[in-house]
Every structure is written in structure tokens, then in C-alpha cells.
């Protein structure tokens, strides 16, 4: 029985879960190049404003974007730090495969 003491498994769950949707990946891409309001984002997708709002909320919950009020708008900014975190995770897995890292378990139980 693998007992998971580390709570932040949930955080990794949220990051990958948030990236597992094409619309959300597109929102991340767009907000990495520069901020955009929720309605600006919503204008380009074939779904309701509320649906896009929910996607943004999922990304925000995963720490992949941040919301910054400006007037009546909410500017969405992509958060590269969280992406780097996901990158490091995948890098660690590749490290396992290559056998370069000997005792990686602690790292993968997720910092």
C-alpha cells in the first residue's frame, strides 16, 4: 500500500487535469503571450461565455493563469512558473527512463 502523505499530489493532479483540454491549452497559450480579458477569450470559442469562464476557473485553480481586475474586466495572465513545474515533473520521468537518476522517488512524490 502506497500511503501518500504528500498533499500536493492534488496540485499535480490539477495541473495535468487543466492541461487535458484543448480549449484550456489554447487559453494558456494566448495568455502567455499577453493578457486577455475573459470576454476577449470567449469571443473566439464556439461555446457560451459561462463555459469559458469555467475553463478559466479551472486554469486558475491549477495555478496556470492568474486573474487581475482592471475596471470591469478581468485580465487573465498565463503563469509560466506552474508550467515549469509540470515540465520538471516530466523531466523527472524521463530521467527515470534514462537511468540517470538513481533515487528519484522522493522527487516524484512531488515537492
Amino acid at each position: 500500500m502506497v500511503v501518500r502523505i504528500d498533499v500536493s499530489d492534488d496540485e499535480v493532479d490539477r495541473i495535468f487535469r487543466a492541461l487535458a483540454d484543448a480549449t484550456r491549452r489554447d487559453i494558456v497559450r494566448r495568455t502567455l503571450t499577453g493578457p486577455a480579458s475573459v470576454s476577449q477569450l470567449a469571443a473566439t470559442y464556439d461555446m457560451s461565455f459561462a463555459a469559458v469562464q469555467k475553463h478559466v476557473a479551472v486554469l486558475e485553480g491549477a495555478g496556470l493563469v492568474t486573474k487581475q481586475p482592471r475596471g470591469r474586466e478581468r485580465l487573465i495572465h498565463g503563469n509560466p512558473e506552474t508550467l515549469q513545474r509540470a515540465q520538471r515533473l516530466l523531466d523527472a520521468y524521463e530521467g527515470i527512463w534514462r537511468g540517470r537518476i538513481s533515487r528519484l522517488d522522493a522527487l516524484l512524490e512531488d515537492d
Copy 2:
């Protein structure tokens, strides 16, 4: 020269979705170091054999592991190629942020 990441949206969805679960990430980790049977995997988790079987099926559907029959067992092997695909995806996002990649859109449209 532009190397095209030829991955469909659905495929990327499945990869990240599969990685969005701690048990499945653990299975990937374990099968990257060496093959393991489904029952060997299941023995270490606090859930039914059938549940682990389903997790393996999700990973297999995402191409993160492969199943190879040997006798009455099914040996599960981790698949580093698929992990590399996910890595390249995240690398591309980081490239956007850094502004180092100029024409990345075609790459990210993940056709």
C-alpha cells in the same frame, strides 16, 4: 527547420488526462524502470484489482504504457516516447513565454 509535433488534440487530451492521477503517475514511474504485471502493480495500491486494471487501461489508451502478454500475465511497460511528446508540448509553451520561438502557432494547433 520546423519539426512538427504531429499529435491530435484528442491524443494530447488523453496523455495529460492520464497523468492527472497520482496512482497512474506511480504506475508510469514503476513501469519505466522495468516491466510489471497488473497484479504486481495492484498489490501495492489500496484499491481493487479491477480499479488498477482500469488505470492501466487509461494509460494504455494514452500510449503511456504498453501491455505484453507472457503466459497468464500481462507485462506493463512504460512508454518513454509518449512522455517525450508531452515534454515537447510543455517545452513549446515555455518557448512561447520566452518569446524565443517566432512561429509556434502551427506547432501548437496540434493538428
